[in-house]
Amino acid sequence: MDYVAPTTVEDAVGALASSPDSRVFAGATDLIPQIRSGRPEPGLLVDLKRIDRLTAVTENDASWTIGAATPTSRLTEDPAFSGQFPGLSEAAGLIGSDQIQNRSSLGGNLCNASPAADSVPAMLVNDTRAVIATADGTRTIPVGDVTTGPGSTSLSTGEFIVEFEVDKPPADTGDAYIRMIPRTEMDIAVVGAGARITLDADGNCAEARVALGAVAPTARRVADAEAALTGQPINDDTLAAVAAAASDACDPIDDKRGTIAYRKQVAGVLAKRAVRLAADRAAGITTANGAH
């Protein structure tokens, strides 16, 4: 494999165009294990980390811009970002150990397109957008439109994600991401659930977003769970409806990490817990870490 480290987006686009057998990478935390387990090696490795824009984290007036190759530890260590998006920050922080955290990125986590990617449900509930470099500029699409199935994205050859945009949430909003893993660290999520809840003046749910990971070919929002919450108080009944909707929305597989039945049952449990935590954060009740 050959290696280049361009310093501008244009140079990266050019490098990809020059070699049909090229791959971008940021942390390589998925790429290297995949090559070791027999995936064909790319001819050219294009390292995105020397492009300033790809590792910049910027707070704008009404949004944040996050370079796609930014190590996730930068996000979890940013108090402003973590304060506004505790769920997304925690989700990013669950992608592996401290060693992995200093390398893993939202761009890599999304584009590796594992159905179990931890950051994706949290990105979905926050309506995160991906800014994609193309041959002649950029285009912006919702994160939910990037992954198309296990290991595959909608990006064309030669395209890569430059940065993510996420709008600051309205007042009285909280987000959360909770996952089930057999140990306490170092595992791929067996089930992941993200939630974002906005409360109204009466403490009922004004707006709900619920997303599941690891239980379908891609992470996805659960419309029925969201409908069960909208305009409703967050109580045992609505949470039970959320759980039922989440279990029903699953389309999981049996694999070495979990069974279909297990994933469906646990999806319901985690959706409830994520909604509860997001709602508590919206109400200012707790900023406790839901994961551990």
Binding site: P33, R36, S37, M180, P182, R183, T184, E185, M186, D187, I188, V190, K256, R257, G258, T259, A261, Y262, Q265, V266, V269, H292
Partner: protein, 753 residues
Amino acid sequence: MTMTEDPKNAPSYKWVGSRSIRPDGLDKVTGKARFGADLKLPNMLEGAVTRSPHAHARIVSIDTSAAEAMPGVHAVITAADLPDLAEAGAKTDDVFMSAKVLARDKVLWEGHPVAAVAATSREQARAAADAIDVVYETLPHVLTVDEALADGAPVLHDTMITKGADPVPEHASNAASRALHERGELDKGFADADLVLEREYTTKPVHQGYIEPHACVADAGQDGRAELFVSSQGHFSMRAMTATTLGWEPSQLNVTPAEIGGGFGGKTTIYLEPLAVRLSTKAGRPVRLVMDRGEVFKATGPTSGSRMKIKMGVTNDGQITAAEVWMAFEAGAFPGSPVGAAAMTAIACYDIPNFVVEGFDVVCNKPKVAAYRAPGAPIIAYGIESIIDELAKGIEMDPIDLRLKNAAVEGTQASYGPQFPRIGFVETLEAIRDSEHYKSPVPEGCGRGMASGFWFNIGGNSTATVHINEDGNVNVITGSPDIGGSRASMALFAAEEFGIDVDRVSANIADTQTIGFNDVTGGSRVTLATGSVVIDCCRAIKEDLRRRAAKTWDCEVDDVEWVDGQAQHASGTETPLSLADLAAKAPRTGGPISVTKSNNVRGAGAGFTTQLVDVEVDDELGVCRVVRYTTAQDAGKAIHPSYVEGQMQGGVVQGIGWAFNEEYIHRPDGTLDNPSFLDYRIPVASDLPMIETIVVEVPNPNHPYGVRGVGEAGIVPPMAAIANAIDDAVDCRLVDLPMSPVRLLDAINQRGE
């Protein structure tokens, strides 16, 4: 904490029992210590192995021509490059060992080596190994004891007639052998019981999980000899096995043990070594051969999966009257599971008058199992200690009291034959019963469980040399690879015996040319056996030093005493002579001061442990976490308490992993689905609390310092202790390992119905 029997009369030592810095520690914390893959020799080639992708297949042909033509390739070998031991009339075990190292006619598991390459870089070697063209004819395979024993199952070895079966079978099968222990009358025993329970248990293969993959460097000369630098638990036995496989005499090989990055039994056998030596002879250059993690999982020796059926009866007042045990253990591709040891340890903790314990060694298309810390005992203990817990609940007796009532003690005829000398099982039960942990209330939302375990420990052959340097400092040289901290104990023994500061002792491990024979580091034997021989050397040297002092003072030897590191004249009229003084005079008093001793040491003391665990279960997810763990283990005498505690804690945590998540997951086609640390899940630091240790000291009467082996017993109880705690927490009795979240949630769901 330490609980010593009869503390008032226990001997007090200056060095033994202290927490010295281990001799190899500095090199290990600075990265200087050399492990098997860390040696770089001039002109060294890198090796790679071609392995079977199939679980069971006939090798039709192997074409190495493409590989041989590739750039940088200096040697390619197949079984044709090793002697055909079957043709040479060798023992069946040796034929199997050779076939395991390099397949001859058949491949018997995914990962079975078929060829190996040496080339100038790792990438070139790997590319060449992948270019070797092997034509296979796949055969049906069997993966579990159930499949292997089923009627009409494909048979792995067509001459395998079950040894020990009665009547002798007419046809070959996959049951290699049968072990049987019997006593009394089973039917009468069950008739005498008030409560009889029957349960069936299954376990999966688990791996020792050492962090260092297998690695060696072989350097063959044109004189038919070779040097081998290898991460190994026993370089003498490795030398013998490698020589047999190569058709060499052992003395043609000199084996130097590298520092070893974990073994736990898995590095007591050979995989890469004959391949590396043969590649080196063929290439005429040194060859380094290292496994990657995938190869470690696929092609080394996990321990057995199993099926066990246990029936046990107890009277209402807590007398266990009868036990019936049937076990079948997976051996992997060749015979040799630890079912025999399991049959011996199964009920060894208890004095049960009527029993039948029967165990079958069953081959199947998986890697040949290797020893794993108290081999066989943890597997059967899962069943025995679980059923005893259920019996205790059934008669409403405290589980510790039930065990105390039936405990083996000094004089009990062990279930496996000999009479127990002084043992400390009862003391470990009492230590737990009297512990702060046991006396504390079970935390809210948690469950509590306990279990006990036993391991024989062995003695065996050791050789050691001790010299006194010109400056009076001491060298201790042994041939036992240090896998747990034994060099520290050897230094402490010497310091204690001579009465000198342990910093004046260096403890080293020599190669096969520079020290006499030593058995493997295994069976928890080193502190006992190698320690005994070191002590013998020190005592012989002290005799010699007294003679040299007597010569110097021109007096009788009986007038000379050795006290606090010095020769002293009994009358006090002479200035004492230190080790340094006597070393300086050595040329005039008899020459250099050095002694070598060997022995086949007997008198190993059996090791017992009792453990207590609190667990917390998230009953919506089936996730179980250990909240508190206390282990009490009889060490006889803790020579270096920190490393005794370390052995206890390490064994417990391996058991915790075995209980919760560790298992080999095979696809239906016989390939391994989880050959990585990502999906072969060993415990991580955040999974665990501190592991509280109670070192019980009931001295072994047959060792000068009372030592009992401690390396192994600790792994025996945790799975059952956790099963018992889960039952206490959520009223679910799990009988299949691992007790993973999927299984636990399933049990919780079914409990509700």
